[in-house]
Symmetry: C2
Subunit: 130 residues, 2 copies
DNA sequence: AGCCATATACGAATGTTTTCGTAGACAAGT
DNA sequence: ACTTGTCTACGAAAACATTCGTATATGGCT
């Protein structure tokens, strides 16, 4: 019992993000968020269709007890991140997690506090090994 | 003069990987590599078509001076990694490079030597700031 | 009851990616 | 010169993803 869900498409990921951050939402709510954060409007029925497809794929589940259905994610944000990172590591970093880390650290601004957090994590990892 | 190349598709990325690691190659060579590393055969003309499209997109260039054309990547592996990492950070990590790093470190085995390398990089970053 | 705003369902147009069949060119061997 | 194997070009089918028009249902207001 491992892989139950297919990989979300790009649009589906965008919608999942909204559900993760906003909590269970109606089509209207999702669509509104989409349209404030994007310059090019996306039609209401487009969003509806996406959510219906996502429900078919089991990526989300919906409460249809009221006229206005409420959708909620069926997969965890963290698991999704994990899968995508894993895919990226395998696909473009030849399986080396470190190469990805170096890349990410080198090319994106990271605050001193964040660097500290990473150092702490490395500490923990090192302790676990010994 | 910045963005000249479109984002490679999944299949195109796979092929680029081969070109990066094997160097300039013929269709036959690329196709062979594809078929040893994958369980499901991919047809020769499929690979040919991919490379032709990639040439149109300017992702690769080809030497047509001999009957058997030789393809080579037009983009750097590192730049491609950079773009993909950037995209992933924005799309699923809310813009936080650190979150991605934590995710990658936490979920994938990293050797002590690799951890050392990362620590060194962090050192450098900290020095730069001060 | 009748109207209006808003909901879902459905199907189809459009766009993109992946796959491969078929045709014609060409080089090498006989 | 002919056959055979391998090459490129081209086009189109198949698969997948995105978008939206239209039909129909429903709840709330007058």
């Amino acid at each position: 019992m491992a892989k139950q869900h297919p990989r979300p498409t790009e649009s589906e990921l965008t919608i999942l993000q909204i559900l993760w951050s906003e909590g269970p939402s109606t089509v209207r709510e999702v669509n509104n968020v989409l349209n404030v954060q994007k310059e090019n409007e996306v039609g209401y029925t487009t969003t509806l269709k996406h959510l219906q497809i996502m429900a078919e794929k089991n990526l989300v589940s919906r409460d249809t007890s009221t006229r206005t259905h409420v959708y909620k994610p069926n997969i965890l944000e963290e698991d999704t991140q994990k899968n995508l990172v894993k895919g990226l590591i395998e696909k473009v970093f030849g399986g080396s997690a470190m190469d990805l880390v170096m890349q990410a650290l080198g090319n994106h601004n990271t605050s001193p506090e964040e660097l500290d957090k990473i150092k702490k994590l490395i500490q923990e990892l090192e302790n676990k090994k010994s």
